[in-house]
C-alpha cells in the first residue's frame, strides 16, 4: 500500500511462496480471498489454520498464520481442540469435498451440531484432486472420474451430497452459504461470504461454513477457462448458490 | 547378464513409455525385466524418470544408483545422470535440449538431436523412440527388431498406424548414435 495509485496487490496475509496448485485451479482464488479477509479483519496474528489432506495439504505454506495439518477429514476435530483451549483465537479449516464430505462427514456434522465457533472453507470441486481425480461425494451424476470410469451411476455409486443444505438443518450452525469462484462477480460474493463467516466466528455466533464451487482443470481434463464454464453450466444447477442458513444475529452484522 | 538403464526427461517426453517398450522387448525375448517409474508428488508435472533392469536371472534391486546406461532427454536429466552414471557407462543425451558438452571423461556421452530427427520423420513425439534407438547401440542384448516387435505387440490399437514412423525413429536414432560411437576414441 505504498504506491498511491495501487488498485490491487497480493494480500499481506499471504507468504511469498508460489502455490503448488495446477495452473488455473481455483483453490488459489479461495486462498486469496481468505487472505484478503484476514487482512481486512487484521486477525492474521491470532489466526490458526487447519489444513486438510487433499490438494490443499500444503495450505500452511501460503498463509502467514500459524497452521496445523490434520489427518484426512479430521480438520474440524482438530480445530475444535484448538478453539476450545484458545477461544480468543480465530480458527479455520480449509477442506476439500473428499475430506469434508466423505471421510470427514462425522467430524463436520458434529462440529456444526456443537456450534463450534469455527470457520470452515469448503472447496467443492466434484472430485478428489490430490489422488488423481477419483469420484467424490459431490461428483455429478454421470460425471466420469478415475473411479467412476463410465460416469457416476447414482444407482450403484450414490447421489451427490448437498453439504450446505444438509448442515443447515443443524441448530449449531450460525452461517452456512454456497458460493462459486467461476467469475468476478461470484468471486466478490464469495469473499463477502468468507468475511461474514469469520465475523460469525469472532462474535461467537456459532459454526460458520462457506461452500465454494471450485475447479479441477487437471482432473476434469479441461482448460482452466473451460473449467470455469463447467462450474457455471453444470455445477451451479446441481449445487444452487445461496444462503442456506444465516442466523438472525448474523443478519444484523454490518461490515 | 544384467543391464540397468535409466530414462529421464520432462513429464511430457514419453519417458515412461520409452522404458515400457524396452521392457516389453526384453520380456518378449525371454529376459527378466523390471520397469519402475519415479513416482511421488512430482508426478503431476516436472521431471520424470524410469529405471529398467534387464537380466537373465531373478532381478534383485529394481532401482540403481549408478546405472551403466542412461538416456537424458533434457538438461536437468543430463546434469543429474551424467553425475550418477557408472564409470565407463554410456549416456544418450538429447542434444536438442542441452547446450553443453559432457563434463566427465570416464563415460561415453552420445549426443543425438532427438527432437530434430523426430521432426524430420514428421512426428515430434517420436523423439523418445529416437533416443531408445540410439541407446540400443550400447545394449547389444536387445535388437532393433525386438523393439519393433514389442511396439507392434503392445502399442494401443488406435496408435498402430504410427508403427512405421516408430520404426523409422528407432533406426534413425540407432544410426545416428552409431556414427557418434565412431567418433569416440576407443
Amino acid at each position: 500500500m505504498t504506491t498511491p495509485n495501487l488498485v490491487y496487490e497480493r494480500p499481506e496475509a499471504f507468504t511469498d511462496a508460489p502455490t503448488h496448485y495446477c495452473p488455473g485451479c481455483t483453490h488459489g482464488v479461495a486462498h486469496r480471498l481468505v487472505a484478503e479477509v484476514l487482512d481486512e479483519m487484521k486477525v492474521t496474528d491470532r489466526t490458526i489454520g487447519v489444513a486438510p489432506v487433499g490438494c490443499a495439504v500444503f495450505a500452511y505454506n501460503y498463509f502467514d498464520t500459524d497452521f496445523v495439518e490434520a489427518p484426512h477429514g479430521r480438520a474440524p476435530a482438530m480445530a475444535t481442540g484448538i478453539k476450545r483451549v484458545l477461544p480468543d483465537r480465530v480458527v479455520f479449516t480449509y477442506q476439500g469435498d473428499g475430506d469434508l464430505a466423505s471421510i470427514g462427514m462425522g467430524e463436520i456434522v458434529h462440529a456444526a451440531a456443537r456450534g463450534e465457533n469455527l470457520t470452515v472453507i469448503f472447496i467443492n470441486n466434484a472430485n478428489y484432486g490430490m489422488t488423481g481425480g477419483q469420484m467424490a461425494p459431490t461428483t455429478l451424476p454421470g460425471m466420469k472420474t478415475t473411479s467412476s470410469p463410465n460416469g457416476r451411476d447414482v444407482e450403484t455409486q450414490g447421489y451427490p451430497i448437498k453439504v450446505s443444505e444438509m448442515l443447515s438443518t443443524l441448530d449449531g450452525v450460525g452461517y452456512c452459504v454456497r458460493r462459486s469462484l467461476h467469475d468476478p462477480k461470484n468471486i466478490r460474493l464469495a469473499k463477502k461470504a468468507i468475511r461474514m463467516a469469520f465475523e460469525t466466528q469472532v462474535r461467537g455466533l456459532g459454526f460458520s461454513m462457506v461452500e465454494l464451487l471450485s475447479t479441477c482443470p487437471t482432473n476434469w481434463g479441461m482448460t482452466p477457462v473451460n473449467s470455469l464454464k463447467f462450474v457455471e453450466e453444470h455445477m451451479i444447477p446441481a449445487y444452487p448458490l445461496g444462503d442456506y442458513k444465516v442466523s438472525d444475529a448474523i443478519k444484523q452484522i454490518k461490515i | 547378464m544384467q543391464k540397468e538403464i535409466i530414462i529421464a526427461g520432462f513429464g511430457g517426453q514419453g519417458v515412461l513409455f520409452a522404458g515400457q517398450v524396452l521392457a516389453y522387448a526384453a520380456m518378449d525375448t525371454g529376459k527378466d525385466v523390471t520397469w519402475i517409474p519415479s513416482y511421488g508428488p512430482e508426478m503431476r508435472g516436472g521431471t520424470a524418470n524410469c529405471t529398467v533392469v534387464i537380466a537373465d536371472r531373478e532381478i534383485g534391486s529394481p532401482l540403481v544408483k549408478n546405472p551403466p546406461l542412461a538416456i537424458a532427454l533434457n538438461l536437468p536429466s543430463f546434469d543429474k545422470y551424467e553425475e550418477a552414471l557408472a564409470p565407463a557407462g554410456t549416456l544418450i543425451v538429447n542434444q536438442s535440449m542441452v547446450d553443453r558438452q559432457a563434463r566427465r571423461a570416464d563415460i561415453h556421452a552420445i549426443f543425438v538431436p532427438c527432437n530434430e530427427i523426430a521432426e524430420e520423420i514428421g512426428d515430434k513425439k517420436l523423439m523418445n523412440m529416437v533416443a531408445v534407438g540410439a541407446m540400443l547401440t550400447a545394449l547389444p542384448e536387445i535388437k532393433i527388431e525386438d523393439l519393433e516387435k514389442a511396439l507392434e505387440a503392445h502399442l494401443p490399437t488406435r496408435h498402430k498406424h504410427l508403427l512405421p514412423k516408430n520404426y523409422e525413429a528407432l533406426k534413425r536414432g540407432y544410426a545416428h548414435a552409431q556414427k557418434e560411437w565412431d567418433k569416440v576414441p576407443v
Binding site: 498511491p4 490491487y8 486469496r32 468476478p184 469473499k191 482452466p224 470455469l228 | -
Partner: protein
C-alpha cells in the same frame, strides 16, 4: 471515464492459466509466448493499451500474480476483491 490503468504480472506466481485473459473486459491481456517463467510457464501480459485498472484480472487470478495500478486522479485507497 476511460481511466488509464496498468497491471504487473509476477513471474514468480503466474502460471499462464489464461483466466485473466478471458476475464479482462478490455481484452488487453495475452500470454507472452516469448517468455518462460522460472517454472516454465508463458506468463500473462498486456499486449495493447486499454487497460482501465478495473482489477477484474486480479480478482480472478488464482495465483495472486497480478498487481493493478490506476493513473492517479485522486489518491486511492486500495480496494480489494
Amino acid at each position: 471515464m476511460a481511466v488509464k490503468g496498468w497491471i504487473e504480472v509476477s513471474d514468480t506466481y503466474c502460471k499462464g492459466c489464461e483466466i485473466c485473459i478471458s476475464a479482462c473486459p478490455q481484452a488487453v491481456i495475452e500470454l507472452n509466448m516469448a517468455q518462460l517463467t522460472p517454472k516454465g510457464y508463458h506468463p500473462a501480459h498486456t499486449f495493447k493499451d486499454g487497460c482501465t485498472g478495473c482489477a477484474i484480472c486480479a480478482v480472478v487470478c488464482p495465483d495472486a500474480a497480478i498487481t493493478v495500478y490506476r493513473e492517479i486522479t485522486k489518491v486511492n485507497t486500495p480496494v480489494t476483491a
